[in-house]
């Protein structure tokens, strides 16, 4: 029985039904066919970050500025007992200007680092078939593929590319140390 979603009571009933149905459905087996994405906005443009490449999402963590060779480095932040360098995704993607990012996304990699951005739109799950590499070179850095999401094309930021670029630029001066 479909509840009327136009009223608050109907909406509550629909939510309850969906919640109950989630327990009734069988466990998905097609998890490999799905791609977990974090929809964000950088410089007003939509982007997506692959959750599989992340180690954690944090909000409102204070970032202490430290001097460094890369202008994209905002500072360091304490995450789960570790000091993690935080880079501005906006600067990494080549947007001009500065920002006061609220969100910190810790990248899963051998060298701990995090990118910061201002706005998050939410967690998205898309079929792997919806993700396709870009045919021609993207206008922005670190974008090699995109996902069709909710009727629009959302570029997916390659965090590996980001790490690589940082490493390449930072290595001649200060080689990263593993902790």
């Amino acid at each position: 029985m479909a509840a009327d979603r136009s009223t608050a009571a109907g909406l509550a009933a629909a939510l309850r039904q969906a919640f109950d149905r989630s327990f009734a459905e069988p466990a998905r087996r097609d998890a490999d066919d799905l791609v977990e994405l974090l929809a964000v906005r950088v410089g007003g443009d939509p982007y997506a970050l692959p959750l599989a490449e992340g180690a954690g999402l944090f909000a409102g963590r204070p970032v202490v500025p430290v001097p460094g060779p890369l202008p994209e480095l905002l500072g360091v932040a304490g995450v789960r007992g570790l000091l993690v360098p935080v880079y501005s995704l906006r600067a990494l993607l080549g947007y001009p200007g500065a920002e006061a990012p609220r969100w910190i996304f810790v990248v899963r990699s051998a060298e701990a680092l995090a990118v910061a951005f201002d706005q998050i739109e939410g967690h998205r799950r898309v079929a792997r078939a919806s993700v396709a590499p870009l045919a021609r070179p993207a206008a922005r850095l670190h974008v090699v593929e995109a996902a069709r999401l909710e009727g629009e094309v959302r570029p997916i930021v390659s965090l590996a590319s980001v790490i690589q670029a940082i490493q390449q630029r930072a290595r001649p001066a200060v080689p990263p140390k593993e902790r």
């Binding site: 909406l11 939510l15 969906a18 919640f19 989630s22 466990a27 998905r28 998890a31 977990e36 974090l38 959750l51 599989a52 992340g54 180690a55 954690g56 999402l57 944090f58 909000a59 899963r108 939410g122 967690h123 799950r125």
Partner: protein, 490 residues
């Protein structure tokens, strides 16, 4: 005669002079009459009495002769007594004559009578003695004729001579008395003529003096009467003009009275209308006061609504604050779900079921966030509506305040109007009363003017009468002047 003497003094003096003349004339006349009377009395008492006594002597002689003859005839003693009585009477009368006579001729005549009587008596006695002796009648007659008769004739002649003498004396006395009376008459006539002349002179002087004085006075009276006539003419003209003016004034006052009555009626109507207006104004004031109370109640209700709306806004703000907490919780739940998804992805197969739970948690957090967003929208709508309502209510409250103030102004103005209408009503009533009093006064004035007009008409008539009287007085004074001074008047 003094010029300043009054008519009374002048006339009194004239009469006094005339009376004095009359008294003098009377005194002279009385004196003359008394002189004449005395002369006549003396004639009567002396001369006539002597003549009478002479006649009485004659009578006594005759009675003695008669008595003697009777004795001689009768011889009785009674006649002899008569003879004796006659002799005594004759003697007494003769003695009285002797005492009365004053002249020598008289006294001589009396003496002659006495002597003749003595002779006669002697002869008689002889005869009587002869009779008594009884002598013869012839003897007695002879003796009588011889003796008695001549003696009796002599006595009679003596008596006659006395009478003649006395008569002559009487005539002389009468003539003297008559002369005295004539001279008295002449004196009285002379004095009367003098008195007449003096009275004429006095009358002439009085006439001239009084005529001059009266003429002057009459002239003044004539002049004054002329002036009086002129004044009376002027007064009559003035009275006529005054009467005409009074008639015009009466007409004007009548018109004024009619106008005043109309004004009084209009003032009465105005006062009545003002009273009605005052009543309506009081009713309107009561309505305004009720409306003022209603506006005050509306104002209080609006203030209450504003208070409630502000409370509602505060509650919305509180809900928003709670919703912020809910949103924060949803966001944190979402972060946890995302992190759980990330952790599940790293946990391999075991993490897959966890990933399902995490996904459901994420969905719930998404729904909470969505609902929170909707609630925030609704709250924003509510707050907007509240703000709009508050603003509208505040503007309404301001409008109500303004309306209240304007209504207070209206009420004040209405009260002022009511006061003014009350004042107007009072003034209208005073005007009505004053106009009534004025009408009464004008009626009284009208009555007074009517009386004055009547008096003026009477004055006009009286002035006409006065003019007529003045004319008559002028004519009378002219006639009087003619009477007093014909020449001067001519």
């Amino acid at each position: 005669m003094g010029q300043n003497w009054t008519f009374g003094r002048k006339v009194g003096l004239g009469f006094a002079a005339v009376v004095a003349l009359a008294v003098a004339l009377g005194a002279v006349a009385v004196y003359a009459l008394r002189a004449v009377t005395a002369a006549k009395d003396r004639v009567i008492e002396v001369d006539a009495q002597q003549l009478i006594d002479a006649e009485a002597v004659t009578a006594a002689l005759e009675r003695k002769s008669a008595s003697l003859r009777a004795f001689l005839l009768m011889g009785t003693g009674k006649y002899l007594d008569d003879v004796t009585a006659a002799r005594e009477e004759f003697s007494a009368t003769l003695e009285r004559l002797r005492a009365a006579v004053r002249t020598d001729e008289g006294r001589a005549a009396v003496d002659g009578i006495g002597k003749a009587e003595a002779a006669h008596r002697a002869a008689a006695d002889s005869v009587i003695a002869l009779k008594k002796s009884g002598a013869a009648v012839e003897e007695i007659e002879r003796v009588f004729d011889a003796e008695m008769a001549p003696k009796r004739v002599a006595l009679r002649d003596a008596v006659k001579a006395f009478v003649v003498n006395e008569r002559a004396l009487l005539d002389a006395a009468k003539t003297a008395a008559s002369d005295s009376a004539a001279s008295a008459i002449t004196l009285v006539m002379v004095i009367a003529a003098g008195a007449l002349l003096l009275a004429f002179a006095l009358a002439l002087v009085l006439t001239r003096s009084l005529g001059r004085q009266i003429g002057t006075a009459v002239g003044q009276v004539q002049s004054s009467s002329g002036e009086l006539q002129a004044a009376a003419t002027q007064q009559a003209t003035g009275a006529k003009e005054q009467s005409t003016a009074m008639a015009e004034i009466t007409t004007t006052i009548s018109e004024l009275l009619a106008t005043s009555r109309q004004i009084a009626e209009s003032a009465q109507r105005v006062a009545r209308i003002a009273g009605d207006t005052a009543g309506a104004a009081r009713s309107g004031q009561a309505t305004v006061e009720r409306a003022d109370e209603a506006v005050g109640a509306i104002r209080r209700q609006v203030e209450l609504i504003v208070g409630h709306m502000l409370d509602l806004g505060k509650k919305s703000q509180q809900i928003g604050a709670v919703l912020e907490i809910v949103a924060e919780l949803a966001e944190q739940t979402n972060i946890l779900a995302i992190n759980a998804t990330i952790e599940a992805a790293g946990a391999g197969e075991a993490g897959r079921r966890f990933a399902v739970v995490a996904d459901e948690i994420r969905k719930l957090s998404d729904r909470v966030a969505s609902s929170t967003k909707e609630i925030r929208g609704l709250i924003d709508d509510v707050r907007g509506a509240v703000n709009t309502t508050v603003m509208a209510t505040e503007s309404g409250a301001k409008a109500v305040d303004s309306g209240t103030r304007q209504f207070a102004d209206v009420a004040s103005a209405f009260k002022q109007i009511v006061d003014l209408i009350s004042t107007t009503t009072e003034a209208a009533r005073e005007i009505e009363l004053s106009t009534k009093q004025q009408t009464t006064a004008v009626e009284q004035v009208n009555q007074a003017i009517a009386n004055v007009a009547q008096a003026t008409r009477e004055t006009e008539a009286s002035s006409g009468q006065t003019l007529q009287t003045a004319s008559q007085l002028a004519a009378l004074s002219r006639d009087l002047h003619l009477l007093v001074r014909p020449a001067a008047a001519a």
